[in-house]
């Protein structure tokens, strides 16, 4: 291993475990991060000459700890040092000792704690995500800024602010109990889902840049699942992300315009991701302990399994959305269900389903897009046009607006024959 790119990959993969352990040791995020940085710099010097260590994470923890302790020793000679610092004398022995300890129970809780710190309830979602990408994933501020389409200075500020907030809050360092652990897991899963959505909701022109976010979310979800192998909801989450991301290459055309599910070239779906997603949802279902991620993954799985759009089992999707409505009542879920209802029972039933949502979704782009589409199918073109106009006004990205404009153009083209038909 001589190429720095490979060392970077090793550092990235060791990072959550190493920073998590250093955080447990120093109980301070900045110290832990700095210790990891210093250890990484030494790795870049040492690994190409001496070869990579057998356990990079253990090496980084030990070196990071030593360097940080030296720093502490130098700066505040009077203060007592953290426990068992003197144990580190011989490099090989210490590495083995730490590696042994890491195999134990700490490993899991260290990483979970590190992730959990980023989901502090006082942090707005955007700060949670930025913090997790910086601290856990180790993306540079520049990379994160690029993915969020903001300036590096703005992102630097956002992360600094988030860190300050976290530092003020009391970080739970004691080993969590079962209830606490599962609460942390829920919060962390939600944050990973947010990271994914940041990438997934990108428009065509930024999709490639922002896919970093989706890929990182998948990596974190897999990491979490490695730690909690029999949690069906974490299987569901990972499956959901994989099944959604599998369609990435087919979601936009060469000009960056949205391609709807029905019109996507399914041969461009990533079959390996689909296989992994299906395997996970398959496994999750065996637990008979359903949850929102599993249901959403099951819906995504039905799309993934359909070789042609007309093979899609919309009746089953309707049922699954019905289950999701009960678990997680939300107008957005009902709106999605209505799309399935339209396929199964027709546009009239679907329209009736979404009418009551109007007050709560009056600023939601997709509501007017979907409403317009139902009205268009019913031949109520004037009303459809009003809905589409409203959707364009609410569009979040240029690709969304362009997509609705395409509907409007079709309405214009079709209005002649349709009116004739209506006049009969």
């Amino acid at each position: 291993m001589t190429d720095t790119a490979w060392i970077d990959a090793a550092l990235t993969s060791a990072r959550p475990q190493a920073v998590g352990a250093l955080l447990r040791y120093f109980r301070n995020l900045d110290t832990a991060e700095e210790a990891f940085q210093n250890a990484s710099l030494r790795a870049l010097r040492s690994w190409p000459q001496n070869g990579p260590p057998r356990d990079p994470a253990a090496w980084l923890i030990m070196v990071g700890r030593n360097v940080a302790i030296d720093d502490i020793r130098r700066t505040r000679k009077q203060e007592p040092l953290p426990d068992d610092h003197q144990a580190i004398s011989d490099l090989g022995d210490a590495e083995d000792a730490i590696a042994e300890r890491l195999d134990g129970s700490h490993y899991r809780d260290d990483i979970l704690r590190l992730l959990f710190i980023c989901c502090h309830p006082e942090l707005p979602a955007t700060q949670q995500i930025a913090l997790a990408l910086r601290i856990v994933s180790g993306l540079t501020v520049k990379q994160i800024a690029r993915a969020f389409l903001v300036s590096e200075a703005a992102m630097e500020q956002r992360i600094t602010r988030a860190k300050a907030r976290v530092a003020e809050a009391s970080v739970p360092f004691e080993t969590p109990g079962a209830v606490e652990r599962s609460e942390r897991l829920v919060a962390v899963a939600a944050m990973i889902y947010l990271i994914f959505n940041e990438g997934y909701s990108a428009s065509g022109d930024t999709a490639e840049i922002r896919s970093t976010l989706s890929e990182e979310a998948i990596r974190l979800a897999r990491l979490l699942l490695r730690l909690f192998q029999s949690e069906p909801e974490i299987m569901g989450l990972t499956a959901l992300l994989l099944l959604q991301h599998a369609r990435a290459a087919a979601r936009f055309d060469s000009e960056g315009a949205v391609i709807l599910l029905d019109d996507q070239d399914r041969s461009r779906w990533n079959q390996k991701m689909i296989a992994e997603g299906l395997a996970l949802i398959d496994k999750a279902m065996r637990h008979r302990d359903s949850g929102p991620y599993q249901v959403q993954a099951a819906i995504a799985a039905l799309h993934a399994r359909a070789e042609k759009p007309e093979d899609t089992d919309w009746r089953q999707i309707d049922l699954l959305y019905g289950a999701l409505e009960i678990m997680q009542p939300s107008p957005v879920v009902t709106l999605n269900r209505a799309v399935a209802v339209c396929k199964v029972r027709g546009p009239q039933a679907a329209l009736e389903m979404i009418e009551p949502l109007a007050p709560r979704l009056s600023n939601y782009f997709h509501f007017f897009g979907v409403r317009g589409a139902f009205l268009m199918q019913l031949g109520r073109n004037d009303e459809a046009r009003v809905a589409f106009d409203r959707a364009i006004a609410l569009a979040n990205t240029s690709a969304e607006a362009a997509h609705i404009r395409m509907h409007l153009d079709r309405l214009m083209r079709d209005s002649q024959p349709r009116d004739t038909k209506a006049g009969k």
């Binding site: 790119a5 090793a10 990579p52 897999r222 490695r226 029999s230 992994e276």
Partner: protein, 122 residues
Amino acid sequence: MLYAILCYHDEDLVGSWSKEQDAAVMSKLAVVQEKLAKQGRLGPVARLLPTTAAATLRKEDPPLVIDGPYAETKEQLLGFYLVDCKDLDDALDVARDLGAANPGGAYEIRPVGMFAPGSNTT
């Protein structure tokens, strides 16, 4: 004699490779495989999905299904090759070639006792 070359690697690490790094490894491995295939020595080759997708059936009574791989280890079984080799030295040479294309981790080299090619499932 037929040898199984079982590929062990840290899957977190392999999962941290960029798409380009992953593709670079796969194309280097393809060169080694191509050579073996031309010599008529290459049997089935598999790259396994992450261990998170694995389930384990413990053959107790009644059999017990566990999520995840059989063993929790630092390095995971990520794939395998079946290669026809003269002897262990020859198999080690093949493993060295593969290892040069895909650094890190370890290969376990196991002589095959029985091999049924099965039907084509591709």
